[in-house]
Structure formats: C-alpha cells, structure tokens
Symmetry: C2
Subunit: 771 residues, 2 copies
C-alpha cells in the first residue's frame, strides 16, 4: 500500500468545486479551465506527436466507439432493410476489390522485380563472361545506385511516410492511431514503385512489409467514400465514413498484402490476426479470409498466364514459392537436440538483430532529419556498400565443379553464379550474392544438392546478409524485414546443418527452413502466423512439428531480451500504442489519478465564443457537456461532444440569440452524414471557420451532437482495470465520474495518452520500480 495514494484524498475536498463547469459567460468559462482536482495542475506529458518518415507530425486517435448522438440514433433507427443490404453488399464488394487490387499489385511487383533485376544480372554476367570484370562491376553497381536513388528520391520528396516496412504503422493504425499521411494515395504510389526499385536495386530488403502497407493503403483509399469535391462519391459509400468500418477494411488489406507477398492466403489471415490487428471479431475473420482467397486466385491466374513465357524473365515458380514438397523429414531424438540448439541460438541472434536495428535506426534518424538530400546520400552509400559486398565477396570463394548429373542445372552464362569460373564450374557464393533474394532463398532451401554450398560460403553469406540487413533498414526506401531475416536465418540454419555433418540425419534444406523459422521467431515474435506462412512457402506439412518447436523456443529465448521488432519500431517512432495487458504499476493507481488537467466542459447550450476559445486554445478532441440549472435541477452530465462535430456545427452557423433548446429542429436541419468522419486530412480546421463578432456572442445547442452515452468509469477504479476497458472497447475518450454525488458530474477524461508509461510514470515517478 506504500505507493498508493489513498483513494479519497481529493474526493473529500471536491465539494468546493461543485458548481464548477462552464457557466454562461466568458469569465465562468475561464474558471472552468482551472484544475478541477485539488492536485498540482497536470498536463499530459506523453507524446502527441510521432515520427512519420523522417519528421515528426501530430497524431490523432481514431474513434471506434458508437457515437450515440441524437442525430446518429435517428439515422440508425430509421435505416431500412434495403440500406442494410446496401451496406452488406458494399462491404463484401470492397473486400473483393481490396483482394483484387492487392493481388494485382503483388503480381506487378513480382513481374517488375524479376525483369529489372534479371536484366541487370544478365548484363553483368555477359560482361563478366567476356572477362570485363571492372566494367561488369561498374554496370552492376551503377544500375543498383540509380535504382536505389530513384527509390530514395521518391521516398524523400514525394512521400516520406512510405519509407521503411510499414507494418509498424499499419499495426499502430489498427490500434487506433492515425499518423499523418500514413495511408495517403501518395504513400501508396511511392510504396508500390519504391519497393520495386529498392528490391531490384539488390538492397537487402524485402517486399513483404511494403506489400502489407500497400494493401492497407488500397483498403483505406477504397474506404474513403470517394471525393465530394470532385463529385466522385456515391450514396452507398457513406456507410463507410467512420473509423470502425475503415479499420475492418484495412485489416483485410493487411492480410491481402501478406497473401500477395508470400502467396500465402491462410498465413495472411493469421498475420492480420496475430500481429496487425488489435480488435478482432469472428465475422472479420471470414471477410479477411475471403479477401486473401481473392488475392490468391488473382495471383494464381496471372502466374499461370506467365508460365507461357509472356512476362519476360518472370515465369518460374508456382503458387508455392519455395517448394520442398519432395523432402520427407524423418527425424530421431538426436535431431531434436539439434533443433532445440537452432531455436536457442536463433532466438539469441534474432534478439541481437532487433537490438542492432534499433541502434542503427536511432543513428539514421539523426541523418534523415537533416533533409532529403542527406537521406538520398545515405541510400547511395548503402547501395554502394551492398554492391561491393555482392560483387566483391564471391571472389573469396573458389570455383567448384558442378555435381555429376547436374551439369544442366549448374549456373551458366546468362544466369547468376558463374563469375570468373570455367564452364562446368560455378561459384557457390556468387549464386547467393549475385542473385535475387527469392532465388538465393530457393538455393538455400534446396535439399538435393547436398554439397553445393561450402561452409566458408555460408559463413561469409551469413555475416554479409546479417550485417547488410541491419544497416539497410531505416534508409529512405520501402524496406521489408521478412526477406533479410529469412536470408540470414536460412544461411544460419544450413550452416548449423553443415557443421553438425553426420551427427544429424536431417536434410540440409530442412535445416535452412528451421534456421529461417528461428530467426523469424527471434525477431518478429509471431507464432501461428509464421508457422503457417512457412508451411505455405514450402508446402510440406510434415515439417510442422519441428517448425512449431523452433518458433516456440526462439520466441521464448528472444522475449527474455527485448521486444519484437515491430513493437520496438512502434515505440521508437513515438506512437502511443495501447498494450493488451495493463502494466503492473497501474494496479497502484486509480483512474482519477492520471486524468489530465485542466478539464474543459461546455454547457448544453453554450456561447459560440466559449466554444471557439476552447477549440483554439486546446488541442482536445472531446469535451464533456454538462447541463446546468436552470435547465436541470442539478449539474448533470449530458455527454461528450467531439471537436470535429463542433466544427461542422459552428460552420453551419445555426445559432440562437438566447439560451434556448432547439431540440428536434436540429434533427431536421442536419443530416447524420454531415458529421460523418471525412477522409484523410479533409476535415474542417478551426482556421476554416469565419465567424463574426455578433455570431460569437450567440448561443448554440450542443445536445443534438452530444454523445449522450459515453463510456464511464468511477474515479476510484484502478487504472489497470480502466486500461483494459479502454483497450477492449477501442475507446478514444473515457469519462471519469465522481464516486460521491453532489460534485461536478465529471472529474476528467481519459485518453490513450493518459495510459502511456511516460505520462503515468511522469506523474508518479516513485512507481517506476514497479514497472
């Protein structure tokens, strides 16, 4: 009990502020801005800004609550069968469109990367086979740098928010945090083309994270409800003008992104469920499943079309990216020990990877902050470094003869892996480095060619990709984390297999898969979704028990050191993510202990000037409305009004000279959809309002737009319990009401920021050792 403020220490003193709240004139309004609690004045110190791209921007919370205003209720209750049908029909149509578009983008990405990177490698090989090694390097590095700079320039100048993986931002959005332009059309454009350029440039980045972000952007764009400005809207789309429905669409988009990137529909659903989404319903599971099914069907059709050779260098591979169908794992108990070893070491290396990525990101943020040209410079440096690694390191490896009976499959001119070798020989390190990531992974997962990759090759390639993966994430290009982690992990696994030699009977390809699983588990800390994604990538269910084992071990080991990489990035960017569990120190506090002050309340019928003042002076997005005498016998909480709704109301200028209830009149003047949430950045700002001095002295009835049943908790509820309520119900505002009657009917408002450790521990630093 030592660290606990007695529950009632300010409750008893509350009587003297009983008649507080906004009165009818400006002076009493100012009084209302005084702290309601007799504690030190507390403002929220938690960050209300976050890093998006390279700069900091203000962030806003999303509103998943049912805003039960009179207007909404009227609309809601009068909705007819046909309108409900429209809504359901459109919901599924949008899910279909998301699946379709994401599948198309995924295919486009594949097609472009295979062709650009393919022709680049062809040019390089051709020069090499003529012994023009220096021109070959110049061509290789030159093309890489040009591609990388193009990607960097797009990110730096067009859409800074498109840099990086995008999964942390999507995850934050689904948690209720809307960051600036994170799902804007420009971001979508850059994400698609930047990702193609960056992957083609041979940077150690994947397309999976960007695909998830792309899927989310597509979903957001489709869920905008069209553009009123250009008349590009449709009556039916108005049902999606709220955060709840947009959230569902974006969840579908994220799932479709994974499905398109890995051609793994079930893995996509599970990824959305396990990693991306914060709130989940069974109905959403089904819709997500439908979306990913569409994505897969689209991909499958297009891939089949390309098999005929219609798509340039793209044409290999089916729906299973790394088919290991033929290898049947049989394992002994001794093999299980090897698997446990892989899991433990993979967990360690994975958490170390997270640690380094975090450090590098912090350094890069300093560089990126200095301006677009610095960002492009950084991209250039990393691109050159990557080219040097890829072209230079294979020279340390010897040429080895092609295995007997496999001469035809041996790397030859026009393909990777030849380097300086004689015909009939090849360089195994070049077959990994001078290749696309997908083909390198395919080589690592391959089981047949048992002796293809030397131990020294594996060591060099592991070190190279581990290092490059770490230094590449954070530069201003769209960069996924899956592929670098799989590359390093698969090399590590195969290396363990080679080192164990005859001690284990397991196939080397299986060792690679297990190594990749251990790294993925160690960095991303997912379980079921990774397991299913790996199965869908390799098509061999007999590996399941081993993959499960490795994932469980590596996640457990890595969790002992730090957090998952996406959580880490979310935190580093300053996004106020709500955790599923309440922190331990929250047990020692009550909900009333952390409310930010001052609390600003409005009267049910409020002076326009007071509202304008509050809107201009604060950044609050929700204000309690309190009905007061003479309209009621005692002050009574009428509800909560949102800033965005106030702005629409004021903009209409339906004011009255006296304090009079307008009641049902407003229901005729306004339509519920006037107050619907507009798309990105299209909402009214305080500056947009143009009110005359006369108008400022008039009154406006807030009742029709007041959410008359906000969620409430009593001030003595423990903060831990309130935090769980807040997160479970996906709230934006939570009213805190007094325990004892006769006081002001609301003592504070809890928002997402009030639950952040920075805020809570800032107010009560003595609780820090409970963390």
């Amino acid at each position: 009990m030592a660290h606990r403020k007695p529950d009632n220490d300010y409750v008893d003193g509350g009587g003297d502020i009983e008649n507080d709240g906004t009165g009818s004139d400006a002076s009493s309004f100012l009084e209302a801005r005084e702290p309601l609690l007799n504690l030190k004045s507390r403002t929220n110190t938690s960050s209300q800004i976050a890093i998006v791209g390279a700069k900091v921007y203000p962030i806003e919370s999303l509103d998943y609550e049912m805003i039960e205003t009179d207007l909404f209720k009227q609309d809601w209750r009068s909705r007819k069968m046909v309108q409900i049908f429209q809504y359901i029909y459109l919901k599924w149509t949008l899910a279909l469109l998301i699946g379709l578009c994401t599948g198309l983008v995924g295919f486009l990405n594949n097609l472009a990367v295979e062709n650009i990177a393919g022709y680049k490698l062809v040019i390089t090989s051709n020069l090499m086979s003529n012994n023009k090694y220096l021109p070959a390097f110049a061509a290789f590095a030159g093309i890489n740098v040009v591609l990388a700079i193009s990607a960097g320039a797009l990110c730096a100048y067009v859409a800074p928010a498109a840099a990086g993986s995008g999964i942390p931002e999507v995850k934050a959005y689904l948690n209720g945090i809307d960051a600036h332009s994170i799902l804007a059309p420009s971001t979508l454009f850059v994400k698609i083309f930047g990702s193609i350029l960056a992957v083609s440039a041979g940077l150690v980045v994947g397309k999976e994270g960007p695909m998830v972000h792309t899927g989310a952007c597509i979903a957001n764009l489709l869920g905008q409800g069209g553009s009123r400005k250009y008349g590009l809207t449709w009556q039916w789309l108005r049902y999606f003008k709220n955060d709840r429905d947009r959230r569902d669409l974006i969840t579908c988009g994220a799932a479709a992104g994974v499905a398109a990137a890995f051609r793994a529909p079930v893995g996509g659903v599970l990824f959305a469920l396990e990693e991306a989404a914060t709130w989940w319903r069974s109905a959403l599971l089904w819709r997500t499943f439908f979306t990913t099914a569409i994505t897969t069907v689209v991909l499958r059709g297009l891939i089949n079309f390309c098999r005929g050779g219609n798509c340039g260098l793209f044409g290999q591979g089916g729906l299973i990216m790394f088919d290991m169908h033929s290898s049947i794992p049989t394992y002994t108990n001794a093999d299980l020990l090897a698997v446990v070893l892989i899991g433990v070491v993979g967990g360690l290396l994975g958490s170390l990877y997270n640690f380094f990525v975090d450090k590098v990101l912090r350094i890069y943020t300093l560089v990126n902050e200095r301006g677009p040209s610095y960002r492009i410079l950084l991209v250039t440096v990393i691109s050159l470094l990557t080219s040097c690694f890829a072209y230079g390191l294979p020279w340390f490896s010897k040429c080895i003869p092609c295995p007997r009976g496999m001469e035809k499959k041996c790397p030859k001119i026009g393909h990777s892996g030849i380097l300086h070798c004689q015909p009939g020989h090849y360089n195994d390190l070049a077959s990994l480095f001078l290749n696309t990531s997908d083909d390198a992974i395919r080589n690592l997962f391959s089981s047949a060619k048992r002796n293809e990759l030397e131990i020294s090759t594996l060591i060099i390639f592991f070190t190279g990709t581990y290092f490059l993966g770490i230094v590449t994430y954070g530069i201003a290009v769209p960069s996924g984390l899956f592929i670098p982690v799989i590359l390093a992990g698969a090399t590590y696994g195969r290396l363990v297999g080679r080192l164990l030699g005859s001690l284990s009977t397991l196939d080397l390809g299986l060792f690679s898969v297990l190594g990749a699983a251990s790294f993925l588990g160690g960095t991303m800390r997912m379980t079921v979704s990774l397991c299913v994604i790996l199965l869908e990538l390799t098509n061999n269910l007999l590996m399941l028990p081993l993959i499960m084992l490795v994932l469980l071990i590596s996640k457990t080991v890595a969790d002992g050191f730090n957090r998952g990489i996406y959580d880490q990035i979310v935190k580093m960017k300053g996004l106020p993510y709500l955790e599923a569990h309440a922190e331990s120190y929250m047990k020692h506090l009550a909900a009333g202990d952390v409310c930010s002050c001052p609390l600003i309340t409005f009267s049910g019928i409020e002076k326009v000037a007071n509202i304008m003042h509050a809107l201009e002076m604060t950044g609050h997005n929700g204000f309690p409305v309190v009905d007061e005498p003479p309209f009621t016998d005692a002050p009574e909480l009428c509800g909560l009004v949102l800033r965005s709704h106030l702005l629409v109301l004021l903009n209409r200028k339906k004011f009255t000279k006296n304090r009079a209830v307008c009641g049902g009149q407003a229901l005729r003047m306004f339509d519920s959809f006037d107050f619907a949430k507009p798309g990105l950045g299209k909402g009214l700002k305080v500056g947009d309002l143009d009110l005359t001095a006369d108008e400022m002295e008039m009154y406006v009835d807030l009742h029709p737009i007041t959410n008359s049943s906000p969620y409430m908790v009593v001030e003595t509820m423990s903060l831990a319990k309130a935090a769980i309520l807040f997160r479970q119900l996906a709230l934006r505002h939570l009213c805190v009401i007094p325990k004892t009657p006769g006081r002001n009917p609301v003592v504070g408002i809890l928002t997402r920021h009030d639950f952040m450790p920075e805020h809570v521990l800032g107010l009560y630093p003595e609780l820090i050792h409970h963390k």
Copy 2:
C-alpha cells in the same frame, strides 16, 4: 422513433423513490423489493435453466471481471516478483500438462477403437468367408449393440452431460455459461470411454467433438486448484481459482482436443479461436499453440512406437491421417465451375442436415426425458439400424474384380470389403460400410483407384451416411459431428466427380475432399479453421485455393437458410449465449428499459437478516451496495457484492452489534483467497449457513468484499451499445446508473439474461418485426 419509449418517461418520476434501498430493518428491506421504476413489475422471463444431458439444470454465469474488492486489491498490489513468477511458471506447466494428457487420451482413443473395431470386423469377415452369413450378421450386430449399450449406459447412469458432441457446451462455457457438471470428472471419464465404445460400435459418430470436450474437461480438472478436502492442493495453484484463468486453460484444452483428434496442431489453435472461444488475446494464441505443439509431439512419438507393431491392429498411418501428398491438382476454368457447383449444393445439403438434426434432436429430447432406460432403448434401436444398414446394403452391390496390378492391395480375408465375393474380387460398398470411418474416408479420398467406387455404391453410401448421421446425433452416447459430415460430404463429392466424368479433369480424390469441405462449411460454418484442418488432414497445400473457394461458397449459401449446427444446438439447449453483434431491435431500446425488477440493494453495513432473506428469496448472484446517510451525505453507490462472497462472509460470522465500519480490520481477518472461486459445485450454499436468531439481528460490514468499481452505463445508453460492452468485457453484471442526479444511485443491474431475445421481446413484443 415510433417504437422507442421516450428516454425519460420514468426518469422524471424517479424522485419519489430517492430514499429507497434497504434500510436498517426488515420492513424497509421489504420496501426495497418493490419495483424501483414506475413501470409494470418485470421479472426476467429468459430461461435460467438449460438442458444438460437429458434433463434441465440451473445454469450460472461465469465472472471474468476483475472483482476489485479491498481484499483483492490488497492481495493484488502486494504480489511479489516471486509470486508472479510462480503464476507464469504454473500457467505454462498447466498448458504443457493439458497438451500431454489430451495427446495421451487421443492416442488411447485411436488405439482402442482400431483394436476393438478391428477385431469385430475380423470376426465378422472370418464367419463370412466360411459362408456363415447369418452368424456373421449376428456377431456383427451383437457386438455393436453390446458396445453401444455400454456407451449408452455410461451416459445415462454415470454422466448424462457426456452425451452428444460437447462442442456446444464448451463453446457456451467459453462464452461465460457454466452448466451443471459439464466439465466434471465423471463427464470426463464417460466422455473418454463412451466415445471409444460408441465409435467402436460402428455408430455414425466421430471422436472429434468428444475429444474437444475431453480436452476442456482435462483443462478444467487441472485448473481446479486441487482439493482442499483431501489436502490435495498446492499453494501455487490458488492463482487459478478464478474464472478468467480457467477460461484460458479450457481454451487450450479445446484446441488440444482438435489437435489430438485430427493430428492438426494449427487447425486446433484456429478451431479454438474461430469456433470455441468468445474472448481472445494474442498471448492466449501463443499458449494455445504451445499446448497443441505438445499434443502433436506426444502423438507423433506414440504413433512411431506403434509402427513397430506393438499396438495390435493399430499401426498404420502417420501424423497425416489421409495423406494426399502425391496428387497434384491442376485445374482449368471449367473445373472451377464444377467446384462452384459442389460448393452451392454442398451448402444446401449442409443446411438441410442442420435442419434435420434439429428436428430429430427435438424428438429425441422427448424420448430421453422419460428416463435412462428409454435412452438406452433408443441407443439400441439406432445401433441395430446401423448394423442392418452396414451389413445389409452392401448386398445390393455387385462384386467387382480387383484392378490390375493392385491385387495385393485388394481387400481380402481378414480385412473389410470382401463380403460374399470370390478371391480376386471385392465389394466396394462393403469396403465403405464394413469398415472403420477413418478407413472409409481414406478409401473415399484415395485418388489412384479411379474406378474403385461405382456410382450406385456412392449413391447408396451417401444416402446411408446422411440419414444415419442425422438420426444418430442426439442419442445418449458421446457423438462427434465431424466424421459423419466428412463421410457424407466426401461421398457426395466423389459422386459429383463420377457423374461429371470426363467433363472435369480433376482427380476423384480431390472431388471427395472438396465435397467434404462443402459439407463441413455448410453445417459448421467455420472457414479458416476448417481450411487448415483439411490441409493438415491431407497434406496438400496446392488444394488450398479450391478448398477456400468451396468453403466460402458453401458457408454463404447455408447461412442463407439457418445457423451453424453448434449455434443451433446451443440455442436448442437453452444456453443463454451472448452473440458478438447486437440485434437490430436493441437499437430501439435503452439499457434502463430491460432491467429486471425488483432491484434489491444492500446498505454498506447491513443487517444479517436482510442479507439472509435476500439470498434465500432470490437467485440473484450480485447485489448493489449503497452507502447511505449518516455514513455519507447522500446515497452513494458503493459497488457490487457477489452472492458467493456474501456466503463466505456470513459463514465466518464476524458480525457487530451496531452499525459500525470495520474497515481495515476485515483486511486482517480475511484472506483474498477465502473468496476465490471454488471448483465445480464446491461453493457454499445458503442452506449451509447456520445462523442463530441473535446473529441474524447483528450487522456486517460489506465494504471489504464489495467490488468498488463495477462497470456502469447510464440508463439512456442504447441497449445495443450496452450489449456490445457487456460482451466485449465478458461481464456478469453491469450496473445501470441514472442519468439525472439526486435519484437512487443505481437503477438496475443488467445480466446476460437481460440481453436474451426471449426477455427483450417478451417485454416489448412490438419490436419483434425488427428482429
């Protein structure tokens, strides 16, 4: 607005009952039982009893809320690092034990069924091969009846709750409904052995549902916290003496059950997530995954052990039950039409299946209600009917010669499928009927033997299993629904394939799988989990797009007619299941409109007699506690007290002569764990209390056991919004507080029953057309 009662019609009249609530003597207590609202007195008409086994029993809600009493808070805050470690350690140990035990039971089940049913078939075949057809039938039917009656007797006399699938009950439990003895040790015992006997008896029942129930029972047993009575408890186990932790364990158990039945670990996790669980957290996903991984490892080890021939007739099959690894599906657009057809017709037949099962169940309930002997009679009749079908129908089929080159694999003496045929010939219908379900499914899924099953055979077998599946569910044996549905569906799919003939290039085995998928989708209405389970059963990921398509279509079609079979059974049994969405008519009502009357409240310091009277006269499990003058200035809601806590408090007899606050004293007198939720049926009853007349006149301080921060909603909140809050937070009681101050601080309590359609539409029948 027509169907909406004005929000405030009883609010204004509330002033006259302001000083209501229980006073200090019995007469004012009786006043308190008068309706608080000036509406007609309303009692909850929703069923508080449900069918368990064949009888109706009272049901109780589970409490997943954090009960923030002073005692709990003290304990919670003083928990040390080592205790948190104990809790975490134990949580994982229990998950491991659940996985282990469920895996063992699953193996035992397999072993026993294969041996019992195997020897039964051997005896029958041997008699048949000596042309003793009548004795063969007598032996076959006789053994079947004996086995079926044993299963029926176990269910009828030992544990009626073990009859049926068990999935609906587990689903209801995870939704917060505790039905009588549904997870008791006797149920576990009967479920395990009854299931073995019923499946061995050749009844058209599966072991999957019973395995889920078995897993849940094991989890519940392990989470009981041992027995205090026999000293078989352990300090550490006390952390699990609450509904929240038990729920998590039971979710793990349900997942392990599916994993053990289908050898499908990921499918098990997804089943628990999609079908069984109502509340889900990411952390739970991981734990469930761990449990199913353990189950799979156990199963795999034991199956490997049996391969050596150590387990009698059990020994075939690996971790994949119906391996279709070798068939590579290639399909054209024309094939997709066939797949759509399968989905549509499968959906129709699936929903028809649900319809018939419901009808048959209602008839059987009438029989089962009449007593155990009637139940056993019904089992006998169905067993004889099944034997007649299985033995008699194959005679309508001709003997066909074994395909060339497959003579060795052709059914021969000592195996099923021979019947009256010459050597080198076999009866294809007998190979389905006179076989275990697993082997019949294996035959149906088999692709190589293209002409093995005649169209007439498939028609007869389909009709037979469809009919037997419907009439078998509901008899007093543990009976899963998966296997009957898969059997009928696979036959239907293969039949479609045969009928289409050369119109489709798809493999017949694949047709069977798609048929099974369409039936499963049409009856159970799951998506992702069924998809993964089918993949794990057949080990062929290339089928994934087709299976997804079929599942989506059949579910959509079937949803147009009726609900999923488990939901249907839950409803039929009268279990008050909370749906994820609010019903449409709830929009037209406010939370205050449906509260049951009369509301009984206690004073903070209450007379023992009043409490006893309330406990005896009502079945309520929660009572609001209101502090009143002179202890406070005005009536003030102190919180909510639970019946179970009151019983413990009264049992200790720490009463005072006068109305005095005992405060911190109670914190020393009691331990938080005295109030922990005891295991099944071990709680105190009112009848257990033995209070003298003197004690009845004394007072007791309820503050230390009052949950001081119950969740609250304002009476004007729409019922739809309150319903979502109630379900999301997994509540048992929800306090409804008045909109206007100055009235009694609580106007009602909402429980699960108040959200049931029977109750709401009983009060407001005019809303029925909004349903």
